[in-house]
């Protein structure tokens, strides 16, 4: 939970250092608790984290690769929820309960991997570009310009088309469209911090550039990044699910919500007397992804409300 706590240290308008860390932390908590939606968001995220952590206990894996959903036979018609399959089965008898539980794990896996990759690239390029400026800055910024000239999903589709479709390649594709945003934001933060007095002082003392960046600049710029990353978790999962839905991400039977939704495509019609006969094939994985993204969006909104100085005055 460091993301919740640490930003208070640098948040503009937070309690001055003399009043102590505890006070700032408490103020943040109070602000946070005042908005029921933020608390709801936190609860949802905590719930999904727990599900992801204890996935093997909730749904015991039977396949060698735990991310592959077990299925009995290849009969194509979905079966409604019953004692054996609490959420029913989707096309080709993939168990929806298992898919939703382990899908939580793959959602976290994808989102955290992409965010980690984005942060590493952004820290490297953003620090070089923001701290040194000059031609390095120019080159890095023009490269991000080119990446941002594509709608992210389209670039991701093209990358997967060229690399071949697999879970790993879909993650690479999403990371490739995510890094320019992070890099630009971190560069802007670096520009803000690099001319501050304490950096100037460190430079005057003869501290090397590397140490200045690592010890003085990075700690003061990383928190906005973490907020952005938490706002992005939902978006990354949606993008990954979209790739799977378009048939360019996870293969059929992989425990991924987008892939399960893609399997429901043929079952939205039902039969003559009962138009909603196969509702569960769409509603079950759809609800899972909706709640997951909603939780992260609410939490991200809470962070923004707390740490955005412009919002503070009005609260």
């Amino acid at each position: 939970m460091s993301a919740v706590r640490t930003p208070t240290l640098t948040a503009p308008g937070a309690a001055p250092a003399r009043r102590g860390q505890q006070t700032a932390w408490q103020r943040t908590l109070r602000r946070f608790r005042r908005n029921p939606l933020s608390v709801l968001g936190l609860c949802i995220v905590v719930f999904f984290t727990a599900v992801a952590l204890i996935a093997p206990l909730l749904a015991h894996p039977t396949e060698r690769n735990a991310y592959m959903i077990p299925h009995q036979g290849y009969s194509s018609d979905p079966h409604p929820p019953g004692p054996e399959h609490p959420f029913g089965t989707t096309e080709e008898q993939f168990d929806l309960y298992y898919g939703v539980i382990w899908g939580t794990r793959s959602a976290f896996l994808v989102a955290l991997t992409v965010v980690a990759f984005g942060l590493v690239v952004a820290l490297t390029l953003g620090s070089l570009s923001g701290y040194y400026g000059g031609w390095v800055d120019e080159v890095v910024m023009r490269v991000t310009d080119i990446f941002l000239a594509f709608p992210p999903l389209i670039l991701a589709v093209v990358i997967v088309a060229v690399l071949g479709q697999s879970v790993r390649n879909a993650m690479i594709a999403i990371a490739a469209v995510q890094w320019p945003t992070y890099t630009r934001l971190l560069r802007a933060e670096f520009l803000r911090v690099r001319d501050m007095d304490f950096v100037e002082a460190a430079r005057a003392l003869g501290v090397s550039d590397f140490l200045i960046i690592m010890r003085h600049v990075v700690p003061n710029t990383i928190y906005p990044m973490l907020i952005l990353a938490s706002l992005d978790m939902g978006g990354i999962v949606i993008n990954f699910a979209a790739l799977s839905f378009l048939g360019l991400g996870a293969p059929p039977g992989y425990a991924d919500w987008g892939q399960l939704i893609s399997l429901s495509k043929n079952w939205i019609l039902g039969t003559a007397g009962d138009p909603f006969q196969f509702w569960y094939t769409l509603v079950v994985p759809g609800t899972a992804i909706f709640l997951f993204v909603l939780g992260w969006n609410l939490l991200g909104d809470a962070f923004r409300d707390i740490f955005d100085p412009r919002q503070q005055g009005s609260m």
Binding site: V158, I261, L269, F276
Partner: protein, 341 residues
């Protein structure tokens, strides 16, 4: 003003060069034999693969290849799309009107609904309409386009049978392909009007409802949020208070004084809207089986139809860059402070 626009226009060729370079470097991840498929229109040509590789310089250094490819692209030759069974450029031209029609109607709905809801919820902050619009925008941002699209299909096509997927019904499609229908623009609703075929207009409109509703719900969220916060800020401004103190009716203050200024930041974020619209179009077309560029590009990506994929990427990059350019120009027109910089 003209200098501002000229500077933006001067940047265009460089962006175009960068965009083509990125696409080209991506195709370099493929083997020469796979890239040779760019030039194959018939399976029988596969026997002459080494000749094709040599003929099109695919065994040459990268910069030679890039230059050759760029020359072809500049001549409008993007290769042969196996998915569409026609040259890529012809395919793009054929699919574009469908995509444009969908995007244009959605954009109009998004603007109207987003600005109206954003204003209303700022003016009546913390009242019912504000809560409804905030709930809608939060859920709209969290519900993936394809889930929402499928839910709409399940209800309004599966249950009620009102709005079928696709772009036209069978009869209408046959009629459009027959000689009696003159395609002026490629936009079916406009063409139906010009041909005075009212039943066709009705059919085309019926097919537009669900995809447009999907895109609108998903993208209005961003616009409502931006308009609302910008409007809240403007409503606190001194000149708004002055206008109210003068005794102007509330509606005039909101519509003439506050909203016009509140919309300036909204224009800067139009880029965000374009990105969402273009990505959303690709997914929506796939969900609703809408015969546009997005559905074609996705099908091509699944089948390693590399020429089509490069064409698809280039056209979407072009649309985004041009859209952003328009937004920048509009911004300069609306806000004189930008022109002076």
């Amino acid at each position: 003003m003209s200098r501002f626009i000229a500077r933006r226009l001067l940047l265009l060729p460089f962006v175009a060069l960068g965009v083509t370079a990125l696409i080209f470097s991506l195709t370099q991840l493929l083997t020469p034999a796979m890239r040779a498929s760019l030039y194959i229109t018939d399976p029988r040509q596969l026997n002459g693969l080494p000749d094709i590789i040599r003929k099109y310089h695919l065994d040459q250094p990268v910069y030679v290849q890039y230059w050759e490819w760029l020359r072809q692209v500049a001549h409008g030759d993007l290769g042969w799309s196996e998915t569409a069974r026609e040259p890529v450029l012809a395919a793009v031209q054929g699919f574009f009107p469908a995509t444009f029609e969908l995007a244009a109607y959605s954009f109009a709905c998004i603007l109207a609904l987003g600005i109206w809801l954003g204003t209303a919820s700022a003016v009546r902050k913390d009242q019912i309409i504000d809560h409804i619009s905030r709930f809608t925008s939060i859920s709209g941002a969290s519900l993936p386009t394809f889930v929402w699209g499928l839910v709409l299909l399940m209800i309004f096509y599966g249950h009620f049978g009102w709005f079928p997927p696709g772009r036209l019904g069978l009869d209408a499609d046959l009629f459009v392909r027959s000689g009696r229908f003159h395609p002026y623009t490629g936009l079916l609703t406009v063409d139906a009007l010009l041909n005075r075929q009212w039943w066709l207009l009705w059919d085309a409109a019926r097919h537009l409802v669900l995809p447009v509703a999907t895109l609108t719900y998903f993208l209005t969220a961003t616009l409502v949020r931006i308009t609302r916060s910008s409007m809240l800020e403007t409503l606190r401004a001194d000149y708004v208070r002055t206008a109210e103190a003068k005794g102007l009716p509330r509606a005039v203050v909101v519509d003439r004084h506050a909203r016009r200024n509140a919309l300036i930041p909204v224009i800067t974020l139009a880029s965000l809207l374009f990105v969402g619209l273009l990505s959303g179009v690709v997914i929506t077309e796939t969900v609703f089986n809408w015969p546009g560029i997005g559905r074609w590009g996705v099908a091509a990506s699944q089948q390693l139809d590399i020429p089509a994929v490069t064409g698809f990427a280039l056209i979407f990059a072009a649309m985004l860059v041009l859209g952003n350019l328009c937004a920048d120009v509009l911004y300069a027109v609306v806000d004189p402070r930008i022109r002076l910089r």
